[in-house]
């Protein structure tokens, strides 16, 4: 393999190694970040921490459709 790539095989292989490291590194980082964030969100919701907008919307008009408030 190295012989096929000529006298500068090391530079070529290093370049492809860098590309593999960059693409896999980014992918793994984003996948692990997603897993961590999903777990954190699930844990918060399990503790009953609800979203501010949910409470605010319910407080504004729990029954009345807003279209009729003109």
């Amino acid at each position: 393999m190295i012989a096929v790539l000529g006298p500068y095989a090391g530079f070529i292989l290093l370049s492809y190694g860098a590309a593999a490291l960059a693409t896999f590194g980014l992918t793994v980082w984003i996948v692990l970040d997603h897993r961590r964030l999903s777990n954190t969100l699930a844990a918060l919701e399990a503790r009953g921490v609800t979203r501010r907008s949910a409470r605010a919307a319910a407080r504004l008009a729990p029954e009345t459709p807003l279209e009729t408030q003109a």
Partner: protein
Amino acid sequence: MISNPSLPATLRAPSPGWGTDFIANLGRAARSPGLPAADEIGYVCSLEYVEAATGACRPRPEASMSLADLANPTRFLAFAGRLIPWLAGLTLVLFIAGLALVAHSPADYLQGETVRIMYIHVPAAWLSMLTYSIMAIAALGTLVWRHPLADVAARAAAPIGATFTALALVTGSLWGRPMWGTYWEWDARLTSVLVLFIMYLGLIALWRTIEDPTRGARAAAILILVGSVNLPIIKFSVDWWNTLHQPASVFRLGGPTIDATMLIPLAAMALAFTSLLVTLHLAAMRNEILRRRIRALGLTAAGAIR
């Protein structure tokens, strides 16, 4: 029109050009305690579309899927969740095809086998600029429409852009040593790309410095737009100055100067890298929305304790 007496006057009375004012005022109101209409990342929707049960901005029922609907973070999360696996599969197929074409491509008559570095250096360099262009468009979205999803897009793109820029610099150096006899030369193209890399790092640092995403968004958007002046400098540096770096050989007047046996693998690799960028960007945007949702929930929990 809304006439709820609990809302401030700016939200109750229509004014000339009320559409813009109304949305802007909703944004302000949403940041006031006790007033609704913004979801967890600060996204503002018309009040009649606030889902009473969940508080999410629900999409207009009569509308089909459009770009405007995707601006709804909840809908965007669902859309991204459906699309990401397909995009990941497409990226994998494109990389397999691209690498197969590279393996069967001939050696260059001058560069020899070292030309194979170009099949990753050139796409990485393209993407470093494409990613910044996406960020510049997103910055306009932040400043003109003040849409928080625009800042989510810019912020999610920055680490990806920085990585592609670093890859372009590293592979360029690894090609330069055997071909030019040096890893680095302070010529206009190399230096302007290094400035682009520093811009990416500066923007990431800026976002991390300002804790409130709404305030950080505007500062970052201004810096992104100021930095975008570097894009034409990078592109035309090889024409404006006498550089060691070669001039454009693909996107140029008169067509590409590369033979099809090398142009096709290069295009295939560029397509694979672009698909990777789209996939990672969507996934990173989804992460950023979740991160902001967690931050909002954390603030809510802290407020409740107090």
